[in-house]
């Protein structure tokens, strides 16, 4: 009996963790190429879900057609955000960037509230709601979609960053943007690029979770925070480390809620996050860096 429960906790944790991972990678991609923690990342997740609903509801598109439209619009929003808010910044200190992305997230949230109201909406599942049983624990087909799409996106990311010119250029920017500029890489374009990729990913995350978690104009805050946690545990890597970070966070939350206390489950997750930061501030898997003066 107890074992069944733990298996269920683990499965539930994995599926929420995959969501956190996907959002976390969005954070990392922008951070790595620009040094910005984009607090508006959660809002792109919200936009993904809400835009899909919008296309289904207003334009009567089927789900499969609404999804790419939503991702496209969301990507455009990401580009606009970079062009209008980030690029014109005269003094891009980290603090100013934090505030401006927070301002941006409030702005996007307010706009969506005006456009679509304050109601919560639910998106239809991609392929039915019949639970799948795995040794007395159950998951939904949608969970498989989440896991699958997360894997595909990570694979695509890996390919992009290691096997294409643009990807390599973006990595170069993340190591040293001045040097990258000197060898002829258009750093500004790469920054724009990173916003494109991460807003598209955020939108995708928002779309695949909406059938399970519902969506409304304010879902972005909490999902964004959790994604940020995942990225920190993974040491802000845009690869597998953040995925593992997300999964760890998801499983800890679910085990915490099931075995210790449901009220304190977020506190448990954050305490562990703090411990990780205290003991291994470079993330669970990173190597310690020596500080340059």
């Amino acid at each position: 009996m107890q074992l069944d429960q733990i298996l269920q906790f683990a499965l539930s944790g994995l599926s929420t963790g995959a969501i956190y991972a996907l959002i976390g990678i969005g954070f990392s991609i922008i951070y790595n190429s620009t040094g910005i923690i984009n607090f508006a990342q959660g809002e792109f997740v919200m936009l993904g879900g809400m835009l899909t609903l919008f296309f289904i509801g207003l334009l009567q598109l089927p789900l499969w057609a609404a999804i790419p439209c939503a991702v496209l619009v969301c990507t455009l929003a990401g580009m606009l955000f970079e062009r209008l808010a980030i690029r014109p910044l005269r003094k891009p200190t980290p603090i100013n960037l934090v505030i401006i992305t927070i301002g941006g997230s409030i702005f996007i949230r307010g706009l969506s509230m005006l456009l679509w109201g304050k109601d919560t909406h639910s998106l239809p599942s991609f392929s039915g709601d019949e639970p799948i049983t795995i040794a007395n624990a159950t998951i939904l087909p949608q969970h498989l979609w989440i896991l699958g799409i997360t894997l595909v996106i990570i694979g695509a990311n890996k390919f992009f960053f290691y096997h294409t010119i643009s990807g390599k250029a973006m990595r170069a920017c993340s190591y040293n943007s001045r040097a990258a500029g000197l060898v002829g890489i258009d750093v500004r374009r790469m920054v724009l690029f990173s916003f494109v990729i991460s807003s598209a990913m955020g939108a995708m995350a928002g779309i695949i979770v909406a059938p399970l978690t519902m969506t409304s104009y304010d879902v972005g805050i909490m999902l964004g925070l959790k994604g940020f946690c995942a990225a920190i545990i993974g040491g802000m890597s845009s690869g597998i480390a953040t995925v593992i970070g997300g999964l760890i966070l998801g499983i800890l939350e679910s085990l915490g809620a099931g075995l210790i206390s449901s009220g304190y489950k977020d506190a448990i997750a954050f305490i562990i996050l703090l411990l990780i930061l205290f003991i291994r501030p470079q993330g669970l898997f990173g190597k310690a860096e020596s500080e340059r003066v």
């Binding site: 951070y31 923690i37 808010a85 014109p88 910044l89 005269r90 003094k91 200190t93 980290p94 603090i95 100013n96 934090v98 505030i99 401006i100 927070i102 301002g103 941006g104 997230s105 409030i106 702005f107 996007i108 949230r109 307010g110 706009l111 509230m113 005006l114 925070l225 940020f228 946690c229 920190i232 206390s261 009220g263 304190y264 977020d266 506190a267 954050f270 305490i271 996050l273 703090l274 930061l277 205290f278 501030p281 500080e291 003066v293």
Partner: protein, 319 residues
């Protein structure tokens, strides 16, 4: 130094006569909160503006002060004046202890850690229902009183809160111009360089962190006794972000800037109320515009703009 003192005196006089302009109307009540928020903004500014260490968890310290004060007076019937230093002291001690591991972190890791700390404190307020009353809040907190005068009206609370706020202002101004202040700025510019010239950076950062928590807790006590009701929702992540915004918009490393930021952000909703549902968009947009076009904060950008304007006019006159 004389000039500083003169500035402070003008500020004090302005604060003292401000109620005359509002004649006890509802804005008085808002000005009480401007006072409390100014204290909080100064607390965060000491840490962020002078010491260069970010915190996204200051609402937690604020809340701890409010709850300690609220619980000890409302539930256990202790004297509020006695509880105030006790609450501030306890929160300071806690911050001092957390400070050592947390301030080892830098940049966004520090932001994340303090954010986590704030959220943990918030969850504790929510979940320890037996002590805090949980999400439905804690009511019946007595108003402060001296002898038989109770600080139960807006005008009285105004002077009480601002007495504390001005005290904190004066203290912080002095601190900023002292040896400690110079050491802090050294840490802000380069921690390693500061260490090389013999500043015990680590200890100093932790002390400022604790001091900042003490001021926040004090503001929390005042908040609890003027509102006479507290609930966890006032001490969440959003409020930490709001505080950060006050400090940045006002101007990092400027005490008067903190006042400007706190005043602007507290009064802004009053002016935006006419805009109904649009206020959230305007708020977000304004934040972005401020950072984009006034990166030095109000306290530096406004005088700059005025100077430019004067020069333009002067230029035009000459030509």
């Amino acid at each position: 130094m004389k000039k500083e003192l003169f500035k402070f005196l003008i500020f004090t006089v302005l604060i003292l006569v401000a109620p005359l302009a509002f004649k006890g109307g509802y804005l008085m009540n808002v000005l009480v909160f401007v006072g409390i928020n100014t204290m909080l903004a100064i607390a965060l500014n000491l840490l962020l503006g002078y010491c260069g260490q970010i915190s996204l968890g200051h609402a937690g310290f604020f809340g701890l002060g409010a709850y300690l004060s609220g619980i000890l007076t409302a539930t256990h019937g202790l004297n509020p004046w006695l509880v105030m230093p006790l609450a501030a002291g306890l929160v300071g001690l806690l911050a001092y202890l957390i400070g050592f591991p947390i301030l080892k972190l830098k940049g966004h890791y520090l932001a994340m850690a303090t954010l986590g700390m704030g959220i943990i404190i918030y969850i504790v307020f929510n979940e320890s229902v037996d002590y805090t009353g949980g999400p439905s809040g804690l009511s019946g907190i007595p108003a402060l009183s001296i002898g038989s005068t109770s600080f139960d009206s807006d005008v009285k609370s105004y002077y009480l809160v601002w007495a504390f706020t001005l005290g904190v202002c004066l203290f912080s101004l002095n601190l900023a111009n002292s040896r400690v202040g110079r050491a802090l700025r050294a840490i802000h510019d380069s921690e390693i360089a500061a260490r090389v010239v013999g500043v015990n950076a680590r200890e100093l950062k932790v002390r400022i962190f604790a001091l900042s928590a003490v001021i926040s807790a004090l503001a929390g006590c005042l908040y609890a006794h003027t509102m006479t009701f507290i609930s966890p929702a006032s001490f969440g992540f959003n409020f930490s972000v709001e505080l950060l915004t006050m400090v940045v918009i006002g101007g990092l490393g400027s005490i008067y800037g903190s006042f400007l930021g706190a005043a602007l952000l507290t009064l802004l909703p009053e002016f935006l109320r006419a805009a109904h549902d649009y206020d959230i968009i305007i708020y977000g947009g304004l934040l972005m515009v401020m950072v984009m076009f006034m990166p030095g904060g109000l306290v530096r950008s406004v005088p700059d703009a005025v100077r430019k304007l004067v020069r333009l006019k002067g230029g035009a006159g000459n030509a």
